[in-house]
Symmetry: C2
Subunit: 161 residues, 2 copies
Amino acid sequence: MSTDVKTSDVRKAFWKRLDDVRAGLLAADGERPVPMSPHADPDENAIWFITARGSAADRAAHSGGEASFHVADSKANVFANVFGKIDISDDSKKLDEIWSAVAGAWFENGRDDESVRLVKMTPHDAEVWAGDGGASFLYEIARANVKGGTPDVGEHARVTF
Amino acid sequence: MSTDVKTSDVRKAFWKRLDDVRAGLLAADGERPVPMSPHADPDENAIWFITARGSAADRAAHSGGEASFHVADSKANVFANVFGKIDISDDSKKLDEIWSAVAGAWFENGRDDESVRLVKMTPHDAEVWAGDGGASFLYEIARANVKGGTPDVGEHARVTF
């Protein structure tokens, strides 16, 4: 029972912190991990990425395969290995929603450039470490690894989505 | 020729940026990736980690196997997949050198606690993206992925050590 409550807290913390993560490494099936900027969407249980036609993420998403997204952001205080399925999305309303001036900067024709690709990752499970900003977070993690317990500072769990 | 020069620049940038990275994900052979704090040591071509007896890193290092270290730090402006060999080290001079008050906080008997383990990673190759702090870094990466070229901003290369 207490495990379920904890897992739900960590899941919530994960989505909240992911908002502050500028980039992680996306490793798609058979592709090398590349830096990608996540857009957290807890309401749809999705992590969105904007990419371009022909990129590694685009190729992998077309196959509808498994991918993992790795976050190691000590500024946002979150570390995570996220596993899920990726697909290409043609949801133009969603693209409008997450489009930003930054993404626009490298598409010649902006939002409507035909090379724009929207990739949806649907996570099914993740291992998450969410710190509280304290300096000892990493050492709590290490200690937890050793003792088989959980960190005293911050939160750690395997969560399902 | 120019490729060699570039690779050497990226290698240099990698070591410099790694100094600012508080933590990445260390994935040792057969073990799940866990957050670990790196200590960059370009003079010895090593990345050092302090851990504790029985941790995943300790177990993996004892086998002297392959490991990968993944960095995704947009504050330090470096993203990298580093591949190398890990081993347990009994170099107590090195441990003195990289010991810090932070590491000491979680060992009951500090530096001389018998559960302290020093792990040495000897990288053999890496894929590195080193930005210059500009906001468009991630988009340059994506554009480079698409066009098969290199980012206009920052540096990207596969380097060997």
